[in-house]
């Protein structure tokens, strides 16, 4: 198990570094000068040149990347070109929006999808099953940003129950912040729930068709026991994979949702950083994204071992 963990951790680390290198090179490949974006359309050439030097953009790219990586190892994530503030502080503030948003949406998706998927699988062949299938099909087909706009129009513009967007900040108002996150969580979670419900149903059906379930039922075990002790436990491996994937999806999907709801989250900051060619800020954001995704898949892998002894001893 320890060798397995070490190997997984090393792969994870390499993935994160590769991701940051990829993004850095991609940004170099497209045109766009941070100094020109900061100084505006009528900037003078002398001013542009001076600012490039001040921002350290006169240093060769390879050297800049190595310096950045060295800084990260020492815990110094650099300073944002646009905001002139430490990247780590800017990102930390944004996580206060993005993490609750992603966790809330994932939680909502699980709460809806797991019971619904299992229920539909058990009621296969009845009238309920196709209803769930169609509903989840529709749910999966609706883009989250569009659902977000519909929710805004209904709950914010028509009923005026909830804010149409923005975020007051946890330190200023906890209830206000929760209210601000409610619609985004719904917009992001519902679509995810639809996808997850379909996958859960399929996983459950798969297990229910296994020989050991038939045997268990044949020897007269009550249905409850068969489902909870035999079927669900075995379906869990698939469900945890789905869960890991859905957390990743939700984290990525929050980029769009933050835009629609004007939430000051990490995704929106990353988009702004791309637009402004704010290399240090974008690099920092990508580092957080890559680490999160790699960490999630790592946790999923580890949980396989816990859930299924066959994987642990393999």
């Amino acid at each position: 198990m320890l060798a397995y963990l070490t190997r997984r951790l090393l792969t994870a680390l390499v993935s994160v570094v590769l991701a940051s290198l990829l993004v850095f090179s991609a940004l170099l490949a497209v045109p766009g000068d941070p100094a020109a974006l900061i100084l505006g359309m009528n900037a003078q050439p002398e001013a542009l040149a001076a600012l490039r030097i001040r921002l350290g953009l006169d240093v060769p790219p390879a050297q800049r990347y190595v310096a950045w990586l060295g800084g990260v190892v020492r815990g110094d994530w650099g300073e944002s070109l646009q905001f002139g503030r430490p990247v780590a502080a800017l990102i930390w503030a944004r996580l206060g929006v993005s993490v609750p948003l992603a966790l809330g949406a994932a939680l909502l998706a699980c709460l809806i999808a797991l019971p619904l998927g299992i229920w539909a699988a058990l009621r296969r062949g009845t009238a309920t099953d196709p209803v769930v299938i169609v509903a989840s099909q529709v749910g999966a087909a609706i883009p989250s940003f569009w659902l977000g706009l519909l929710l805004i129009l209904f709950f914010a513009v028509e009923l005026r129950w909830l804010p149409a967007g923005g975020f007051p900040g946890w330190e200023r108002s906890v209830t206000g912040s929760l209210r601000a996150l409610l619609l985004p969580v719904l917009a992001l979670g519902l679509g995810q729930a639809a996808v997850m419900a379909r996958l859960t149903r399929a996983a459950m059906l798969d297990v229910l068709a296994q020989d050991y379930v038939r045997t268990a039922r044949a020897k007269g075990l009550p249905m409850r026991k068969v489902i909870y002790e035999h079927a669900l436990r075995n379906a869990l491996v698939t469900i945890v994979t789905i869960l890991g994937l859905s957390l990743t999806n939700v984290f990525i999907g929050s980029i769009v949702i933050e835009q629609v709801f004007a939430l000051p989250g990490l995704g929106r900051m990353a988009l702004t950083a791309i637009g402004n060619r704010d290399f240090p800020l974008l690099q920092g954001a990508i580092l957080v994204y890559a680490t999160t995704i790699v960490l999630l898949s790592f946790l999923v892998d580890v949980s396989y071992g816990l859930l299924d002894p066959r994987i642990r001893y393999a």
Binding site: M41, F83, G84, R85, F167, G169, N276
Partner: protein, 499 residues
């Protein structure tokens, strides 16, 4: 049709004036939340030429010696009055006394001198050094109660340039920190900035004009998505939103909870052509392209009729405006003839690149492309992201055709710069600009500007489609905001709330 629009606009302005006359008396206190589109690149208008900075801080936070009022007139700010010597070489500004900055320090003549010495120094990083090119020295006078600008030659644009956002004054020696912590003399002080979320301005108790501002607080909320912005206005989260899309204006106007207005602005929506590159280097081609486009139809179709067709790089909102819309009117037949004369009877292929962040430009550009195809020009349309637009098109001049709104007032001087992205090289423009600058009277100055406007229209340097209006909407209880944009500014100084 275009006259009708002008009439309607005039009527709108008149009605706006009437509504203003019926405004309830001002009350003190309260807060107003205003939507803005993006985080500006810092907050110092003399460190970046981005128009998003003065939208928030001009007059609200920072003042110069003089400033523009809502009608575009130049009025006193940190100077109470001024005079100019007979030879036009010595300008004396009497400084307002008893003014303090937001950090508590006193405003003195030293702050003025430090400011303009920086502005005149090309290595200081100050924006638009050309605005201050005529200034030879800045000196204290009358024991520091006044400041004297000595010029190398008379400058008609000096006063105008001193009213621009670039000319704001802050405490001497603080320019390093102004970008993140603005400190000025304006009626609001910069209280808090949460990147990507909002900027909060608070009433400055020590403001030099008694009774102002009316509001205790102004919050500028950053909402980049246009639908989200408008939804926030409709839901009451936002009190005021400017730069509405035309269809949003129509909706806001029909909404009983909102007031909406159409005002004058100085933005020319311009189809820019790379004059230095074939086939645009041939004047006949540029004329043909102008003839090929039905500007009226674009204003009707893309702008819901909200816009005024223009024929040169000037808007009716500017003092020296001259109507040149008839220079090369819509005439596709003539366009085809001109193309044939220029040696392109079967047309040619061009790339037409639309800037991603600007919806009105993108929309208008799509229609323009269709008109060009109608006369046989094969147009490859593409959308470019803003950073790329600035780098490759604007600074690199590597493009065929693009479209953008030039929102700065009084910016016809760019046609004198052969290295500007139009690639237009005509020495006569610089001569006329110098004439305007040295003009003995306003009439002479206007004549020189109008001559420039005529030359560039005759040369068909670009296609100037229309001037896009300032569309603003607010909750019904918000009063006193600017309904015109003589300079890009969300001016909150005289805004108040009253049912």
């Amino acid at each position: 049709m275009q006259r009708l629009i002008a009439c309607l606009l005039a009527l709108g302005v008149a009605l706006g004036g009437l509504a203003l006359a019926q405004d309830p008396p001002p009350t003190h206190g309260g807060s107003v939340t205003v939507a803005i589109v993006a985080d500006p690149p810092g907050w110092d208008p003399s460190a970046s030429t981005s128009q998003e900075i003065p939208r928030v801080v001009y007059h609200n936070v920072f003042e110069g010696l003089v400033r523009f009022d809502s009608a575009g007139e130049i009025v006193p700010a940190l100077a109470t009055d001024w005079s100019v010597s007979d030879d036009g070489l010595e300008w004396t500004f009497t400084l307002r006394s008893g003014v303090s900055f937001h950090d508590g320090s006193d405003f003195t003549v030293d702050d003025v001198i430090a400011k303009f010495e920086r502005a005149m120094d090309p290595d200081s990083g100050h924006t638009n050094a050309a605005y201050y090119a005529a200034i030879e020295s800045v000196e204290s006078a009358m024991d520091g109660a006044a400041v004297v600008f000595r010029l190398s030659e008379p400058s008609r644009s000096l006063l105008y340039n001193l009213a621009r956002p670039d000319s704001i004054i802050y405490p001497a020696g603080t320019h390093e920190t102004q970008r993140t912590q603005p400190i000025g003399t304006g009626p609001f002080r910069f209280a808090q900035y949460v990147e990507g979320s909002e900027v909060r301005l608070e009433r400055f108790e020590g403001y030099h004009q008694d009774g102002l501002p009316y509001l205790d607080e102004v919050v500028f909320r950053i909402i980049s998505d246009t639908n989200a912005r408008f939804a926030a206005l409709q839901s009451g989260d936002i009190d005021l939103m400017a730069q509405l899309a035309p269809e949003q204006y129509v909706q806001a106007d029909a909404n009983p909870d909102l007031q909406a207005s159409v005002g004058a602005a100085t933005a020319e929506i311009t189809v820019a052509m790379n004059n230095a590159r074939e086939p645009f280097s041939d004047e006949r081609v540029r004329q043909a392209i102008t003839h090929a486009i039905d500007k009226d139809a674009i204003v009707q179709g893309a702008m819901f009729g909200l816009g005024t067709v223009i024929g040169t790089h000037m808007t009716p909102a500017e003092a020296y405006y001259v109507d040149l819309t008839d220079t090369y009117p819509y005439d596709p037949e003539r366009a085809r003839e001109l193309l044939a004369e220029a040696g392109y009877p079967d047309g040619f292929t061009i790339d037409f690149e639309l800037p991603e962040p600007y919806a009105i430009e993108r929309r208008s550009g799509e229609v323009v492309a269709q008109y060009l195809r109608d006369v046989g020009i094969d147009v490859n349309l593409s959308v470019v992201e803003w950073g790329t637009w600035i780098e490759r098109i604007f600074l690199g001049r590597d493009y065929d055709m693009t479209i953008i709104g030039h929102s700065e007032p009084r910016d016809i001087n760019v046609y004198a710069n052969p290295s500007y992205y139009y690639g237009y090289d005509n020495a006569r423009i610089a001569e006329l600009l110098a004439e305007a600058e040295a003009a003995g009277s306003a009439e002479e100055e206007t004549a020189a500007f109008q001559e420039i406007a005529r030359i560039i229209a005759d040369d068909a340097v670009n296609v100037w489609l229309f001037s896009s209006p300032f569309l603003v909407a607010a909750q019904n209880d918000v009063h006193g905001f600017w309904t015109d944009q003589p300079t890009p500014n969300l001016n909150m100084v005289e805004v108040y709330r009253a049912p």
